[in-house]
Symmetry: C2
Subunit: 381 residues, 2 copies
Amino acid sequence: MFAKTTSTKTVTVRYPTKTTTTTTTTTSYKKKMKFGVLGTGGIAGKVLTVGIRRSGNVVLAVGSRNQASADAFAGKFAIERAYGSYQGVLDDPEIEAVYIALPSGLHKEWAIKAAKAKKHILCEKPVAPYTVDVIEIIDACKENGVVFLDGTFFKHHPRNKLIREMVVNGDLGAVTSVFSQFSCDFEPAKASDSIRHQPAMERTGVLGDMGWYTVRFGLHVYGYELPERVIGTIVRRYPETGAATHFIGQLHFSGNRVAIFDSSFGQMDTQITHISGTKAILALDDTFVPWKGLIDMKNPSAFVGPEQDTFKISKQAGVWETKVVEMGGVVEEVMMINDLVACVEGSKNWKEWAEESITIHKVLDALWESAEKGSLPVSLQ
Amino acid sequence: MFAKTTSTKTVTVRYPTKTTTTTTTTTSYKKKMKFGVLGTGGIAGKVLTVGIRRSGNVVLAVGSRNQASADAFAGKFAIERAYGSYQGVLDDPEIEAVYIALPSGLHKEWAIKAAKAKKHILCEKPVAPYTVDVIEIIDACKENGVVFLDGTFFKHHPRNKLIREMVVNGDLGAVTSVFSQFSCDFEPAKASDSIRHQPAMERTGVLGDMGWYTVRFGLHVYGYELPERVIGTIVRRYPETGAATHFIGQLHFSGNRVAIFDSSFGQMDTQITHISGTKAILALDDTFVPWKGLIDMKNPSAFVGPEQDTFKISKQAGVWETKVVEMGGVVEEVMMINDLVACVEGSKNWKEWAEESITIHKVLDALWESAEKGSLPVSLQ
């Protein structure tokens, strides 16, 4: 049943595939938007440096719990205005959008305040500890006429959009299984070194952090269909706090289809996924943060985005083709900001994407419930 | 946390690693053993052609349910003696060992009869529908002073022995997760075309067939430690018979370690495994039937075994090293027969390996029980 030889060839795929457009980087919006950042953690620095500024927009202000922290961050990243409170950013009439980079336990309060202040919102994930809170945030955005986008940058990568198109088009045959693993080697000496290891700040630990990506990749492949049932298991907890640091699970979709995931804070960095269909297997080993799109945070101004990202596909056992997606020097974080601005300008519809944010939180809630019940299956429908 | 560049280099590993020996193919036994084969299916042809004969031993007889089938098989493979019953092989005083290539539902009867007839046994897997039957077979072999080996050829591949050594030596750090997928595109038009799709012949369907490999690979990595608990799920059943055709599961070992597996008769051929440790990730995409060791059954006499097989290891995200294992032109099926003969001659101990056969059956029984209970976790300890 297997092929006798092993070979590899390279095929270039330009995205989008249905037009003659050869670049994904055209921005259709007209004006620079002015962003404020809530929070001064590592992720804040990365997204604002790579995403907001490189997309041609402006980081006008930062807000922190205290003035010293805000000043330090503003100095490091050359930001004009530093507020010693999050409210300071919301009170600034020139700010049009906020990037909420706080622990998820604080998102609901500040997202709803931002919506009421008529600021558009890019919110780090998980959006909130429970689905009901996410719905409340999104409802507040709708009521106040502002855009809401969760910060899942891989969703905006043309490679992943192309992969979804290939699934829909049947290029892999019928897809029956998705495996996704995202792990890193991150074991702090004490919990106070990491909000990830403090359940009061990040309720589901690694599930909401690395697991967010692996669960969402399965949902992405299956078009954000709600699974019929899930099984979740906490493999390991951080001894000091009980935070989940290794979580595995299964999502069971209609028609005998599954997604399996594995995420840990205690494994060598890996981000491997396989999509298995009746006609082909599709594989990635840099699914979420493509190796070619990595930025050196010590010298971000020297960064040039990738010209290409790749993935692999096998239609005959042992024979892999490398597919190339043109990136035009743009990273997925920039594409995410471009999409946010397109939503503000009305050329894209954020409300469909907000439904995806709600769906993943429903799945995460069910996975956590399953884990707390000793891995009993939990129905979602 | 991730590397910025992607690169690959190749390193040659000679196995065994602890000596200066550069070949794995030396056979230490002195005489040719005479084998009889019970059954005339496809697997019988493959193992006898590749394994028994190329290891320097003799296929003297074949037994089938009827004379016509035995004659046809004997003619095709140039076998001297054709018996119209399985008993005929056991009654032949010149036969020293039998290869039992029947559906697993028939193994117990014929393995115990073979043991009583003082024939050494190589038995296809699963060995029997239930663990108690496997124990009975192995006890019969011990009582009658004959060797018993299940036909898990990948166990005898030096690559997999080396991988286990690397795990024990800590080359990957602490191993916390093993993922293994083995699938093929095999959906018969009707159940009568395939014993695999008839629960009366193969009770657990794909679990005992493709799942045997994936479950056993996890056990192999963890040194055949019995998991504390397992969760099994039948994802799909064959409509005509209800046979399991897609099965996924989890094995939970002591110390927060897991093995995850996925096996299907309805996916493009794939045999992907990842071993994830705190220091490195090890990957294979031809774990069980190495691409380089595949034989063209239409022209088996032209076959030359591989000089090398490979695997990959990553100690830095995005950077993979290809490791090469010298094979000396010998395939894993031949190594399995060599190991069987070494057991007969007393230079290797089959009883340790028989414990591994019992362990995997305990795990398969528990996985099936879990699946039948709607994926409830089943404890093994």
